[in-house]
């Protein structure tokens, strides 16, 4: 999308593919500079808004995925920690697990030397308890870091949406104002 309004930009022009919405100091100069009439300017702003909405949907979906993933990883870490704790003791860990929906079975886990981790794509790898804990911890930290970046992206995006909405309102108001002025100065037909 060609930058039709360039000289009023704020510090960043875009962030990770999201174009910044330039802040308009003065509607008249903005329209002169971009060479657009009011309706085209409004159409351009609406289109921008639509693009922002599309990106927002995508980011929100990613955020939901990450927010679901993090508790899962924490649960895994919990279990690995429990297995490690039991290893020092003498007794086995007895647990009831779900065989199928509504059907549970009992398992006796003795001296867990290693665990298997599901890596995705139908791949499961065996790790020692320590290695598994380390891997899970790394995954957890990465997920949390990604989530932070995502949240920052969303905030930036919402700011651009707000700026665009305010600019739309101001261009519209300016137009109304101009029409009033023109009506006032036009000689009235009696």
């Amino acid at each position: 999308m060609a930058a039709a309004c360039s000289s009023y930009t704020s510090e960043v022009t875009e962030r990770r593919g999201i174009p910044a919405a330039s802040f308009v100091q003065d509607v008249q100069s903005y329209l002169n500079q971009s060479g657009l009439d009011v309706n085209s300017a409004l159409a351009f702003l609406q289109e921008r808004l639509q693009q922002y909405r599309v990106v927002e949907m995508k980011l929100l979906a990613q955020q939901r995925d990450l927010q679901a993933k993090i508790p899962d990883i924490e649960k895994c870490l919990d279990i690995v920690a429990t297995l490690q704790a039991k290893k020092d003791g003498s007794e086995a860990l007895v647990a009831d697990f779900e065989l199928s929906e509504g059907i549970y079975s009992r398992a006796r886990i003795e001296d867990a030397e290693s665990v298997c981790l599901w890596l995705g794509a139908n791949v499961m790898l065996q790790y020692s308890c320590e290695e598994a804990a380390a891997l899970l911890q790394t995954n957890l930290e990465n997920a949390k870091a990604s989530l932070e970046v995502l949240v920052a992206d969303l905030q930036y995006l919402r700011d651009q949406v707000t700026i665009t909405q305010v600019t739309t309102a101001r261009v519209y108001n300016w137009d109304v104002h101009q029409r009033r002025l023109r009506q006032a100065t036009t000689p009235k037909e009696s």
Partner: protein, 130 residues
């Protein structure tokens, strides 16, 4: 979303970059407030569940309790379960406290921004939840 600029009279109140930043900040705070409402609700539910669990624990006469770790129910001695639940309860209530504090701060900041923005724009801006 909160923060429409309605063109009532079409009058020219200039919007400065500072105003825009205030409006942006208000929008961000409003979003955070909604998120906090949900997070506080979840934390309160967790607190209640833990409370119920520890009450049930007192009533039971079994020595071994099936305690959920991850996706399985491990057989854990009652004392250990009690300790675990106590720790979880404390963690959850600390988290809840932190969330409530953040909520108060957000509400205060929003009130401050409302004063500033309504002060400058009066009727031309709407910051209420619809």
């Amino acid at each position: 979303m909160a923060g429409d600029m309605a063109g009532t009279s079409g009058s020219e109140v200039e919007v400065t970059w500072e105003d825009q930043q205030n409006i942006n900040k208000f929008g961000r705070l409003n979003n955070r407030l909604h998120e906090l409402h949900d997070e506080i609700k979840t934390a309160k539910e967790t607190c209640e569940n833990l409370e119920d669990a520890s009450n049930e624990l007192i009533l039971t006469d079994e020595d071994i309790v099936r305690f959920q770790i991850g996706e399985v129910f491990a057989h854990v001695p009652k004392d250990e379960v009690e300790t675990r639940i106590e720790n979880m309860k404390e963690e959850t209530s600390k988290n809840l406290e932190k969330l409530e504090e953040e909520k108060e701060s957000v509400v205060a900041q929003m009130a401050e921004l409302k004063k500033i923005l309504y002060g400058k724009f009066k009727d031309s801006i709407n910051l209420e939840e619809d």
